[in-house]
Subunit: 106 residues, 2 copies
DNA sequence: TTACAGTATTCAAATAATTAGAGATTAGGA
DNA sequence: TCCTAATCTCTAATTATTTGAATACTGTAA
């Protein structure tokens, strides 16, 4: 079943296709964080953070660990960070390309 | 401006978050293809293929080269393929993890 | 035990964004 | 002119996002 892989990839990329979720993942690069910590860093409603986390939980991007009244989140697969890194490289390529188009020697 | 990078990444991943677009990119891994070729391989309406290509053109994922009545498409940045490869690895990790949960020794 | 405060999630309604499909349109070649 | 390739435009249907209020859960203090 080759369609399953396509569907999985599409769902994965869709989950990454939102600025808030990307920012959450970046915050989780430095280790686990509680919802409160994320909420404070992002400066948005707690319910929004919770909903985005719920979506990423459903797609297995993050894991939740409960401790008292706090819930700590971590990124499940470090390869996620590789995706973010490559995306930044693609961005840099595009910026470089645009710069060269603007320069006189292009 | 750190927000620009987040927006760019979100747009990039959003563009990848669709099964048809992923399949198009995979078809382009083996080199440039015309819309007709893509349409035949995907078995969907030409106008749909064109729509998806137009979206990927807008986000600079693909380049179009016109030759007579044909338009040849290529992937602009090979790093795109790296994203697809890593996505597959993440998929494999999840499958492996699910298998181990099902096995007796887990 | 009861009440309270802090943390996180869920729900529902309104809004916004994507998608699919069909038809019209443009451009090039025979 | 006629045909083919590709794109564009429009609409309906679906899906995603936002916001605020309501709900659950935990630990603690009275």
């Amino acid at each position: 079943m080759v369609g399953a892989l396509h569907e999985f990839k599409a769902e994965l990329f869709k989950a990454l296709g939102h600025p808030i979720r990307l920012r959450i993942l970046e915050l989780l690069m430095s280790g686990e964080k509680t919802v409160s910590e994320l909420q404070a860093a992002l400066e948005i409603e707690a319910s929004s953070v919770s909903q985005q986390l719920s979506l990423m939980r459903a797609r297995q991007l993050v894991d939740a660990r409960k401790n008292g009244t706090n819930v700590f989140y971590t990124v499940r697969d470090p390869l996620i960070f590789d995706l973010l890194t490559i995306a930044r490289q693609i961005f840099e390529h595009q910026v470089a390309q645009m710069s060269s188009l603007l320069s006189v020697e292009a």
